[in-house]
């Protein structure tokens, strides 16, 4: 097997809370290959979000390493990290976290704007079309429904053609029908563009559909199952 896209090695995370230290992650080892679709499930408080943040370099592990293509990102300086996040990682959060002052199109273009002068108009429009929002380009987040907002967030996460898209309960506050359509969008994107997804979810249906399921419990990985019959195209190199 070639180098995995992400390799989480013996990562622990300890929070200081009112003088007491609280170990939330107690030694995590996880490899994610390029083009994989991975879901993390587990009870609330298991440390799923914390792990996702560490993988997304939004936070640093207390111990352990996180390697992207062999490079340890925990050693990067803050501006290098910012640059790395911008180019390599896309986020989708439970609460969409769009910027309220900007239109849907501008929100999608934002990672490109942050990066530099290049305008990403065409690509952003194309992405919005892909998530089915070509009619909502100039709407502000406040003028979009929950599902639409989450689609915009997804389009934004994909703008820079990241290696990895991290999603933390992306359909956590959507109704089941809307959730289903967002879920199928994930599969669609993975199949068509070979994008790697790491998705935390509480939705049993969605988790059941995913080719690889990592269960977490109490800061440890409980189980890591791959489906016997992977979905078509799963694991296709990017």
């Amino acid at each position: 097997m070639s180098d995995p896209l992400v390799s989480v090695q013996n990562v622990t995370k300890t929070f200081q809370h009112e003088g007491r230290s609280l170990q939330v992650l107690k030694g995590i080892d996880l490899d994610i290959g390029s083009g994989e679709m991975v879901t993390i499930v587990g009870p609330s408080g298991a440390g799923k979000s914390t792990l996702l943040h560490l993988i997304g370099t939004l936070d640093l592990p207390t111990e352990g390493r996180i390697l992207y293509g062999g490079q340890d990102v925990t050693r990067l300086g803050s501006s290098d990290l910012a640059e790395f996040r911008n180019r390599s990682i896309g986020f989708v959060f439970q609460f969409h976290h769009l910027l309220p002052e900007f239109t849907a199109l501008e929100n999608v273009m934002m990672p490109g704007l942050i990066q530099g002068r290049r305008r990403y108009d065409a690509r952003a429009k194309q992405l919005l079309e892909e998530v089915g929002l070509s009619e909502r380009l100039t709407h502000r987040p406040g003028e979009l429904s929950g599902g639409e907002q989450q689609r915009v967030a997804l389009a934004r996460a994909l703008l820079m053609e990241p290696k990895l898209v991290l999603a933390d309960e992306p359909t956590g506050n959507l109704d089941s029908q809307t959730s289903a359509s967002v879920h199928s969008l994930f599969f669609d994107l993975n199949r068509r563009h070979g994008i790697t997804f790491l998705i935390v979810t509480h939705s049993r249906d969605f988790a059941d559909m995913m080719p690889r399921r990592v269960s977490m419990k109490d800061g440890r990985i409980d189980s890591d199952e791959r489906r016997a019959q992977p979905l078509e195209n799963q694991g296709k190199p990017a």
């Binding site: 939004l58 002052e101 704007l113 942050i114 990066q115």
Partner: protein, 683 residues
Amino acid sequence: MSQARPLGLRTAVLCGFGLVHVAAVLVFGATSTQWFQASIGNDLLWLRLAIGWATCQLSLALLSAAVLQRAARLPRGARGRARTVALGISAGLHALITSTSVGILLWAARVSMGHVLGGTVASLLFGLTHLAYADLDLSWLPTLYETVTTLQGLSSALIVVLSMSCWFLVPTARRARFWWGFDAVLAVAFVLVTTLFPISSAEGDETSLLRAVVRVSVTTIFGVRVILRLVGPLLSLFERIGFRSMVAARHLRAKKTGFLAASSTLSILAVAVSSCMLISVLSVMGGFRADLKKKILGNHAHIVIDKAYEELDDWEPLLTRTRETEGVVGATPFLQVEVMVSSLSNRAGAILRGIDAETVSEVTDLAQNLTHGKLEYLQHPERILDASIDTTKTGALDAMINDAEHAAAKGLPDETKEDSMPGLIVGQELARALRLVVGDRVTVVSPRGDLGPTGLIPKTRPFRIAGIFYSGMYEYDMKHAYIDLSVAQRFLRSEGRISGVEVKVEEVEDAPALAAQLASMVGLSGLRVRDWKMMNQQLFGALALEKLAMFITLGIAVLIAGFSVFGTLTLLVQEKRREVGILKAMGTSARGVIRIFVIEGLLIGAAGGLMGLGLGFVLTFAAEHFGIRMNPEVYYIDKLPVHLDPTEFAVVGAATVLVCLAATLFPAYQASRVRPVDALRYD
């Protein structure tokens, strides 16, 4: 529209009427003296004014009643109900107070109808208590009047505030339509005043002054509206610069929560007011300096060449050589000594200067400063009497004396006539102290007397007042007297000698350099060459120090405005924490976040600074062109001097921006430290 509109037509009319009413009160209050004087004894005008006033109050009361009745029908808790009710009540009370007090005052002053029309109503309307009550023995009236005025002032302020807040109840679309109409009218007015009215007023012409004031006001309002219209497009343009300016501009544009909106408005205003204050005060102080400089340069030479303790003997070559020096416009010799001048009524010490009447005008403004008499009378004193009879208004007795003297002078042979009574020019204050008019006779006592048996006998000589000058500097007007140089040389026993040479140069700022050049030219002959800066070093030094002190004091006001920018930005950073987290998660670096908030602070500062400087410019421009009268008895100038200095505007602008920049740094740093995990975790 089925939905209840809190702001009906009546409220809108009341809003507008209330504002116009308050503006009218302010304008009339400010110009009350003129109105009062114009209509004193003109009962008809006063009657009209009183009727107009009563109509205003009555319609205000009716309108407020109508609005109240309408507001009462609104459901409890409807948006704007409280505001509308408050506006109705305060407008009604305002009308009530005013009309009641007018009634009481009319009754109190019923003694004389003319008095009522000429005084009391006037005083009620325009705040001339002292004039109206001078001959009314009703000691309680002023108290009533003051109470009423205070109440009126308070309710006016209330009406303004409430009207403005009610204005926001009008639907946005309708407000926008209003502004389009307003701007269209304004644009037409602007074009009209620009083509028809003068920008500055002719001296002493009231109508042209009024027109110039109208033109400047309309231009100012027009400018403000243009700028307000431009803010949006400009911000859009600004957004295109890049990602950071885009986020900053959007943050500022976004509708903010109540407190932050108030805070950012207040901080812009604070910056505006403080920078306006700073630039206005600096301009006035610069005006004083320029005024002083002008007066000093007008009365004194730019460069003086003399000897410390002696007089100059062989001065003709020096004069010619000085005149030939490049950069020198004129040079004139003078002889100077301290004397005593006595008139019939009084005596005073003075500096007597012998001047060359032919060349003195090349160097100083003496000829222009003469308010009475002429410079040529110094050489032709016999002309004083020819002229003084018809120009100087004196009593019958004076005329008789003048006539007699005139006749006597005519009878004398030419030379005696010239020598017997030479002319003397004195300053206005000296003339006042000695009670002199042109043609009067004075005696000058010189310290360089003859040696008598008991020692030095002071030499005295009679002179005739040939002119009176006003330089604008009290010291100067009190202490200086001029006579003809040759007369002075004879009188002071300095035949052929002078005290020094006065020089005027082309460019006043070059005077020090030119002085150095002249000094090297005259060499080691014991002459000293001083320029005007050197001679008035202390004065200008004190002024500069005062200005610096003022700059620092008012700079502190700008600093305090900076604190409010600091507070606003801290709040803004708090409010935008989550968004900063998102931006950082998407790969904005800490430096990028810092820059976003620094740009926001700078935009606030720039908006405030531009507003302040603009307002300061309008104020100083108006003060410079329309003049603010000052009491000349107190300040010795009749108009507040103002000097607009572009560099000062630049410095104040730069200082404001710097202060705002400093104020943004810490909040921006705080924003950059926001950890995306903390900002995103739980909402």
